[in-house]
Symmetry: D3
Subunit: 65 residues, 6 copies
């Protein structure tokens, strides 16, 4: 506790995810004054067809697929 859910596009590397989850755990432990051991982070990934911003699917946005 707490539990942190990160909603993001799929495609990050294992290392990026590893570092992000460690960093989120550290800042939650620091600022909410709880032991890191109980903090859970889960990254809920979506492909570019299943996520949109401003009404446009990421799959339909210019730039790398």
């Amino acid at each position: 506790m707490p539990e942190v859910i990160v909603y993001a596009l799929s495609g990050r590397t294992r290392e990026q995810k590893r570092r992000l989850m460690k960093a989120i755990t550290d800042v939650v432990a620091e600022h909410f004054a709880v032991p890191a051991a109980g903090i859970v982070v889960q990254i809920v990934e979506a492909d570019r067809e299943s996520k949109s911003k401003g009404g446009t699917a990421y799959a339909d946005m210019p730039g790398p697929k």
Copy 2:
């Protein structure tokens, strides 16, 4: 802002998802009076083994798999 998470069975087409995310964005912008540009929609899909209604997995329900 706001962020909209849609929990649904997997299997929709790209076009269905595209239209749904656009339509959700439009109605949120309209009814919550916020700019569409900041509205995010993510569809969190589950396969039929990982979702149930009334205690029955969708995989165990009659009808198309």
Copy 3:
């Protein structure tokens, strides 16, 4: 099914929420070809101290509180 969770700042009127939930239900039923009767929408509200964009709490942003 599906279930739609809307993460938003608190402060909308009852009427705004009523219309948004109806409109989201309608577009989900239309685009995902499911009966409206089974669609659930829940608005998960946060006060301005508990939500941020770009690293700034909404409570710390200029404009109406």
Copy 4:
């Protein structure tokens, strides 16, 4: 209603998921005094690279992968 989201590591069998969703539905119906028919459960799975506890990705923990 209600809707129950279970955030878990992927890798459970179909039978485990089937039983869990039935059991969750039963206890929600019992303790919240609602008809089971309207209760939805969705299991949101993450691979071991996308979930951490105590700042360590499950992929980096000793034990079966």
Copy 5:
């Protein structure tokens, strides 16, 4: 781990919530073969104006408010 989020209308008693969270923990431990000690349950409540089914806010449905 796992983490279970229950989206429900507000209004349940402390005792109902206590029993539900215990029961959910027990069935998750049993069926997913994990220690109960690590299982977290959070009930995310909404008032009747902020939740709908079939496009109708619960606040607008007949029956007890």
Copy 6:
């Protein structure tokens, strides 16, 4: 994008929440290589009766209420 939801017990100060949301935004921007401006964090709080660990409601655990 991404969007980060933090499920936590209520009771943190405004300053704790402000710092946590800023810190989460910074580490997400750094490790997922995205502009901070688009990152949203929402803290979804539960009172001690509505959250449990190991099957015990936080309201029933010894220690400060």
